[in-house]
Symmetry: C2
Subunit: 149 residues, 2 copies
Amino acid sequence: MDADLARTLTREVMTTADTFLRESARLFRPHGITAAQYNVISVLAAAPEGLSQRVLGDALVVDRSNVTGLINRLAEAGYVARKVQPEDRRAHRVVLTVAGRRLWEKVCPHYESIVLQVVAGISKKRAGETLAVLQAMQAHATTWKLAKK
Amino acid sequence: MDADLARTLTREVMTTADTFLRESARLFRPHGITAAQYNVISVLAAAPEGLSQRVLGDALVVDRSNVTGLINRLAEAGYVARKVQPEDRRAHRVVLTVAGRRLWEKVCPHYESIVLQVVAGISKKRAGETLAVLQAMQAHATTWKLAKK
DNA sequence: TAAGATTGAATTCTCAATCTTA
DNA sequence: TAAGATTGAGAATTCAATCTTA
């Protein structure tokens, strides 16, 4: 692939993610949460027994130190809670509160709906091919090396 | 397309962009700049006559208020400068300084190299198809509507 | 009135250093 | 020593409000 197409492809991946995030904020704002916060709630909704902040951070692809503040604000809003683990008192288990689950049940269908609208008209085959391309890019992104020069 | 595939596709676009941004920071850090700052420098490098902050903001897909701080830090580092426009004294023209261009000439080849490494093994045809999918997603992302409920 | 830019407050994010527990 | 979590500083981001010039 030539350098021009390569640049265009990587840039387009980033602007697409940016555009989607920016627009999805329109959905979340009326509910008083940000996209990052919805992300946390949505991951926790699939883990009724709760998750450690370490695991949560990995699932979200954010820095470990970042999870602390995110959870702080969500806990302050009453959507999540930290439970102490008797078996390992270093690790906090983060769980969704009743209010958090209620919020998720309200927002999730709307989110699903706009996700479907965004991919409208893209065939299953095309989607699969695109997925493969994206996964290849991710694999390469973590292993690039600087030229010796 | 089913909802599962739709969710996976949108999520993968976002994690790919995130991974790429995160890894590219490894390249920029030794030079004392961030990915956002390199982005500005790279856009300015292609516009020798300079750009208004408005146009710059649009090219970068960032908020207008954001450009101010970004330019402030780059100006403080000596890589860009604001020129007053006699014909419209509201608009500042932002130009790359000599030091800014020198930095760009040093970093750009490395950046090009890792972009090529990231897309290694992806055929021209696949890249084109992926581009089309991403552009469709962007077009739809700005026009979604909430269901009437 | 409108457009370009700026400011201030709040959130998010990364990094490095630190604290507590294992 | 190592692992989970936290803290503080700096950078980036968004929004709403403001300032200046057109």
